[in-house]
């Protein structure tokens, strides 16, 4: 079902130049992601996970290759169009310190919606619902420094999901929390994926997190080394 493919990466190459030295972070990555996937991007440190997520998230441009998100070739977009695309179609969750320190949990979750000029009432309905869904009801007015690491990541997930993006990119979302908290975050992401149809692409080194993914893409030295879909655990395909 090609209609289901929201992301098509072909031959993505990224070479960093530092003076004379060239570092090939990605050497021709091919990857297709379908709507509703729950995919882990794994690989040793330096294998290119962050680089690939940055290219897919229109934060950076590939040296060669093409990245098509929802039918749009990212390299053809202007700076302003890339900003808008990130705002409207992509959710981001980073490893840590995702939140704006002076804004409350509620305001952080609301931020992208406000940027989209979603009417206040609609914004409030969605943000309240989401904060309850991520288990933060009652903590809306807390600042990030009054929240635990896991709670902060939940706010970040709420913020990423709020605008109904095509794809949520999460770069090691559990790297800075303990394993129990990591499991709870995975529970949350999994539930959002299953119940709300949110498409996740997340990177990780953690074997326990990898186990929770339905599809695992392995990178090594900037190439896709393996791409496995866990057959035995797979639920019914998500529409």
């Amino acid at each position: 079902m090609p209609d289901d493919v929201i992301l098509q990466v072909r031959g993505a190459t990224k070479i960093y130049r530092q003076g004379e030295v060239e570092v090939a972070a990605l050497r021709g990555v091919d990857l297709a992601v379908r709507r509703g996937e729950f995919t882990a991007l794994v690989g040793p440190s330096g294998s290119g996970k962050t680089t690939l997520l940055n290219l897919i998230g229109a934060l950076d441009r590939p040296t060669a290759g093409s990245i098509v998100l929802e039918g749009r070739e990212l390299s053809e977009l202007s700076k302003g169009e890339r900003s808008r695309l990130r705002r409207d179609r992509i959710g981001f969750v980073f490893q840590a310190y995702n939140l704006i320190p002076v804004l409350t949990a509620y305001e952080n979750a609301e931020m992208v919606l406000a940027l989209q000029k979603v009417p206040a009432a609609e914004r409030e309905r969605r943000v309240q619902g989401l904060l309850a869904e991520v288990g933060l009801a009652g903590l809306e007015d807390r600042r990030p420094d009054q929240l635990s690491g896991g709670q902060q990541q939940r706010v970040a997930i709420a913020r990423a999901v709020a605008p109904n993006p095509a794809l949520v990119l999460a770069d090691e979302p559990t790297a800075n929390v303990d394993s129990e908290t990591a499991e709870r975050l995975l529970d949350l992401m999994e539930r959002m994926n299953r119940e709300d149809g949110v498409t996740f692409l997340f990177s990780t080194h953690d074997p326990r997190v990898i186990r929770r993914a339905r599809r695992v893409v392995r990178l090594r030295d900037g190439r896709v080394e393996a791409d496995e879909t866990a057959v035995e655990e797979r639920d019914q395909p998500v529409a």
Binding site: G80, S83, R86, F92, I100, V102, L103, E107, A114
Partner: protein, 418 residues
Amino acid sequence: MGTLLLHMAVRNVLRNRRRTAIVLAGFAFGIMFAVVFTAIADDTYGRMVELAARLGGGHVTIQHRDALDQPAADKSLPRADRIRDRVVDVEGVEAAVVRIRAAAMIATARESAGTVLLGIDPAVETPATLSLLEAVAEGEVPAAEDRRGVVLGDGLADHLGAGVGKKVVVTVTDAEGEVASALGKVRGLIDTGAESVDKYTALAGRTMLASTLGYASDEASLVAVFLEHPREVDEAVLRIRAELADVLPPDAAVLPWYEVQPDLAAYIQLDSSGLVVFEVLLLLLIAAGVFNTLLVSVMERTREFGIMMAVGHRPADVFRLVVLESVVLSVMGLVAGALVTILPYWYLHTYGFDMSSLLGVDSFDVTGVAVDPIMRANIVPIKLAIIGAIVVVATVAAGLYPAYRAARIEPVEAIRLV
């Protein structure tokens, strides 16, 4: 986005309280010094102008248009009394008096000296129109019908060796260019404290001087006009020119004090440009503080700006946020400035500060105008608005570069920094 951005700006400014407090203290004291010094200068200038006006020419002088450059008896003002009667009806005019001013030689048997002899009507002049009258140290001003009486500055009297009761010969060049003399009798002495005044000034009755000069009965040198609001001299001059067009002789000029007393005007100009330099320096210091604070805070927030841009803010949004922070800072600065300024201003406005013990003199004179050494604050209101506007503009200008730096942050790089 508007209100969320504003919330962010306010909270960001309050985030590092100590740093913000230091910047605000800079604002507060900078504004206080700027306002207080400007206010003291404005008050001093106001009093100088007032004193200068009362020293001879009024706030507005109506005289022959060549009298400034070539003062001579023939540069007279005909119909002076009619002009005076008309000008007092012009809006904003408080009083007007007719005077004759002549270069005169005053001599005793032993000595002689050149003076500026002012012929006045003692019946209408008061210290409010002629400050010399409050400086009468000995004797008195001649009465209206007195056709011989003169009053000398005490420096002049010393030089001539002529005390009260002594006879002097007053010699002038009359309207025809002939030398004319009259016998005078010293009725009083004047001590203004300003040497340049006391050494060269003499007073006489207008009638005595008019007859010596050969003037017609309503002919004089000038009409000195006093205004209710001396700061509005330019408007008053225009009104007088317009409303008196039918009585003013064609060669008469209506002049503001600063054209009649260019020395004083130049002094004020120079003094206030010194003040402007001082204030600009002060505001530059404030701006430097704001610049430094915002730049440091932008650098510290690199990751935050990176996140904002990653999730869809445009560089322009980030730029706007930092500029908004500088606006918030400037508004807080104005409030801090007002709070710190209000008390010293009120005190200096109400009570003033007596500098005589510091200066060791009772008065000092500027281009012949004696100024009493009480510092008072009395700012021209528009200058308050200008200082406020400059503070805001300087602060926001100081925020532009930090804002630009924030907008140029690359999210990929910023997010790598944890």
